[in-house]
C-alpha cells in the first residue's frame, strides 16, 4: 500500500470525487470550521507573522544540521535506555519492527495515529509477524473497520466520512445499535476499545517532534489513546520521519504552539506527552525508536528542501480550494492537498504522480497558511519545470504550444498580428460577443463557461490611432 491510493489516473479520480456530493459536503464543512478556528487561534497571538518567521528559522536550521541532531538524538535515546534503528527504506523499517514483534511475541498491538507508519505500510508488516494491530485514534479506527479505507487528510484521516456513514459502518461491523450522534459514537468506541488497551503487548506511535538534546519524543494528541499506547504496554515502538526533530525543548515549545494552532485551532491539545525514559515503573519497559528516511534524504540539499520543514498540520490542506472540491483520495496518495502535491512526487516519483503538481491554481492560499513558511505554490512550479525540462514528461501538444508562445512573445509583429486576427479566427464560434462552444484549448474552457470574443480593435491599435490623432 505505502503512500499510494488506487491506480486510476488523476483525472479519473478527480472526476469521481467531484461527483461524490457527500464527501464534498463533509470536506467543505470541515474546511470552513478548521479555517475559522485556525485564524482565530493565530490572531489571538497578535503577532502570528513573528511566530511563523521563528518557526521557519528553527526548521531551516534543523534541516541544515539534520545529521548532527539525529546523531545527538540517537546517542541520548540510547543513554536513556532505548534502542534506535535508522531505516533507510520502508522495507528496512518493516523488517526491524517485525523483528521486535517476533522477539517480544507480541500478539495484540495498540497503535495511535501516525502518517509515517501508513507511508511504510507498517500494519501489514506487523501482521506478517503475527501481531494484530488495533488502530485506536478515532479516525483511524473508523478507517480500519471500513475495510482498511485510506486516509484522506493528514490530521483527520476519516474526514471524507460523515456521521451517518460512520453510524452505518458501526452497525454493520460492530453491532452498534445507537444513533449517529458523534458523542454516542465516540462513547461506543471508548467502551469497545477499552479492554484492548489493557491487554496489549505492544504500543506503536508516531512522533510529532523528537528532542535531540534529551533524547525525548513528543506526541501531540487529544483523545488519550496515545497516552494509553505509551503508558500501558510493556514494549513501545515509536516511528518518526527523520525530519521530525528539534534541537531542544526551547524549539519544541515554538513548533508545538504552531502545530496545535494551525492544525486544530487549539492553544494546546489535551495531551502532549514528552517521553524520555523507559524503565517500566509506570510506563513501558522497553522502547524502540525507528527513524525513517524512505526518500527524505534525497530531498535534502535540493531545491525542494523546504518541503521537509513540514510539521504535518494540514493548514495548507484546510485552505486549498482544489482539495475542497476533490478531497484527499483524488490525489492518489496518503499525503494530499498542497503539501501532498509537493511531497508525493518526491517520495513516489513522477511516473505515478506527475499530474499532482498541476492540481493547483497557484492561488497561494497554502503558502499564506503554512506556519513554517514553506513556499508551497513555488515548489509546485519547480515540479512543473522539472517535469518539462528534466523529466520530459509534459504532453507534446503543450511543448508545441509553448514553442509557439515563445515565438509570439518574442515578436511584437507576430503578437500584434495574432491580436488583430483573433476576432476573425474565432468568428465562427462567436455569438453575441461571446463564445459558448470553443475548439482546441477553448473546448475545455467553454464546457463550463463562456469565453469573451476578442475585440475588433485591440488596445494597441486604439492607442496608436489616438496618438496619431494628436492626443
Amino acid at each position: 500500500m505505502g503512500i499510494k491510493i488506487g491506480d486510476a489516473p488523476f483525472h479519473e479520480r478527480a472526476e469521481k470525487a467531484i461527483n461524490d456530493q457527500f464527501m464534498r459536503q463533509a470536506v467543505a464543512k470541515a474546511q470552513d470550521g478548521l479555517r475559522g478556528k485556525k485564524l482565530k487561534a493565530a490572531e489571538s497571538l497578535g503577532n502570528w507573522e513573528d511566530w511563523r518567521a521563528l518557526g521557519e528559522q528553527i526548521r531551516q536550521h534543523t534541516l541544515e544540521n539534520l545529521d548532527y541532531y539525529l546523531y545527538q538524538l540517537s546517542e541520548n535515546v540510547e543513554k536513556n535506555g532505548g534502542s534506535v534503528y535508522f531505516a533507510e527504506t520502508a522495507e528496512d523499517a518493516q523488517d526491524y519492527v517485525k523483528r521486535v514483534v517476533r522477539k517480544k511475541n507480541a500478539k495484540k498491538i495498540i497503535k495511535s495515529k501516525s502518517m509515517v507508519t501508513e507511508e511504510i505500510s507498517l500494519n501489514e508488516a506487523v501482521e506478517e509477524a503475527g501481531g494484530e494491530v488495533i488502530e485506536t485514534d478515532l479516525a483511524e479506527f473508523i478507517l480500519q473497520i471500513a475495510d482498511h479505507d485510506r486516509p484522506s487528510h493528514i490530521v483527520v484521516p476519516s474526514l471524507h466520512k460523515d456521521k451517518e456513514k460512520i453510524c452505518e459502518l458501526f452497525k454493520e461491523k460492530l453491532g452498534y445499535t445507537g444513533t449517529s450522534q458523534p458523542e454516542e459514537l465516540a462513547r461506543f468506541v471508548r467502551r469497545y476499545l477499552r479492554e484492548d488497551f489493557f491487554q496489549a503487548d505492544m504500543g506503536i506511535t508516531g512522533c510529532n517532534f523528537a528532542v535531540a538534546e534529551s533524547g525525548s519524543v513528543s506526541i501531540v494528541a487529544n483523545e488519550g489513546n496515545a497516552r494509553m499506547a505509551t503508558t500501558l504496554p510493556k514494549t513501545l515502538i515509536t516511528v518518526m520521519g527523520m525530519e521530525r526533530i528539534v534541537p531542544s525543548w526551547e524549539e519544541l515549545d515554538v513548533l508545538v504552539t504552531l502545530l496545535c494552532r494551525s492544525a486544530v485551532g487549539q492553544k494546546l491539545t489535551s495531551y502532549i506527552t514528552g517521553l524520555t525514559e523507559p524503565g517500566g515503573m509506570d510506563g513501558p519497559e522497553e522502547f524502540h525508536l525507528v527513524i525513517v528516511d524512505n526518500g527524505r534524504s534525497h530531498i535534502l540539499g535540493t531545491e525542494f528542501q523546504s518541503a521537509l520543514q513540514c510539521i504535518r498540520c494540514a493548514a495548507c490542506i484546510n485552505v486549498c480550494p482544489v482539495y475542497r472540491h476533490i478531497g484527499g483520495h483524488a490525489y492518489g496518495s496518503i499525503y494530499s492537498g498542497p503539501i501532498g502535491a509537493v511531497l508525493t512526487p518526491l517520495l513516489g516519483g513522477y511516473d505515478d504522480y506527475k499530474d499532482l503538481p498541476y492540481a493547483s491554481s497557484l492561488c497561494g492560499a497554502c503558502t499564506e497558511a503554512c506556519p513554517v513558511k514553506i513556499p508551497l505554490h513555488e515548489l509546485l512550479i519547480k515540479h512543473r519545470r522539472r517535469i518539462v525540462e528534466e523529466e520530459k514528461k509534459s504532453p507534446k501538444s503543450w511543448d508545441f504550444a509553448m514553442k509557439g508562445f515563445e515565438k509570439a512573445a518574442n515578436s511584437p509583429g507576430l503578437f500584434s498580428f495574432a491580436a488583430k486576427t483573433a476576432p476573425y479566427v474565432l468568428k465562427p464560434f462567436t455569438k453575441d460577443d461571446k463564445i459558448e462552444r470553443g475548439a482546441g484549448p477553448l473546448k475545455a474552457w467553454t464546457q463550463a463557461r463562456d469565453f469573451p470574443a476578442p475585440k475588433k480593435q485591440p488596445f494597441r491599435d486604439w492607442f496608436d490611432k489616438r496618438s496619431k490623432e494628436g492626443k
Partner: protein, 241 residues
Amino acid sequence: MKVSLFITCLADIFYPEVGKDVVEILEDLGCEVDFPKNQTCCGQPAYNSGYHKETKTAAKHMIEAFEGAEYAVAPSGSCVMMVHEFPALFSESEKEWQEKAAALANKTYEFTQFVVEVLGKEDLGAELHRKAAVHTSCHMNRLMGIKEPPQRLLKHVKGLEVVPLSHSYDCCGFGGTFSVKMPEISEEMVEEKTKHMMESDADLLIGMDCSCLMNIKGRLTRKGCSIEVKHIAQVLNEGRK
C-alpha cells in the same frame, strides 16, 4: 510623471476598454502615458506551466521593451507579479540580465497600487449608486500583498456600497493554464465562486484582474445570471463622466 502602460494580453485583446480607462485616469492625474509598442506577454502562462526557457525569452523581450520607462503600470496584479519573478529566472552567470530584470521589477506597479501609493490619490471623484461585491485576486491580494489600495479607491466612490461576499478569499478557479489543464476542478471552483456571488446582495462584481473577471463572468453568463462584472478602472473612470 511618465508612465509606460503595460497593457497585458487579456486587456489588449479582450478588454481594451479597461486600458482606455486606465489611460484616461492616469492622464487626468497628471501623468504622461505612453505605450511601448514592442510589449508582448509577461510569460506567465509558460512560467506556471514549467516552461522556464520559453519564459526567459518572453522576459528578456519585455525587459527590453520597457527599458526606457520611468514607471510601468499594468491593470493586473498577476502580470505584475510575474514581472517581479523575472530576476529569479536568470542565473548568476547572467548578471547583466538579472540586474535589468530587477530594475524593471522595481519600477513595475499594479494600477491601483500606483494610484494610491505612488501618486498618493484616493478620491478620484467617481460616483456609482450600486451594491457591489469585490473579488480580491489571489496573486495581487495574497502574494503581492496589495490589499488596501483597491479598498481605499472604492471607499471614495460616492454611492457605492461594497457588500460582503462569502468565501471571498477563495480562488475563482482561473489559475491561467490550470483552467484548461484541470477543467473539471476549475469548473467546480468558479461554480462555487458564482454561487456565493449570487447569494450576496450585489448586482455588480468589481475586480482588479481581467483574468479572474473573464473566468467569473464567463460562468455567470453561462448560468444566465445578470450580475455585471467590471474592472476597477472602469468603475473609477465611468463614474466620473
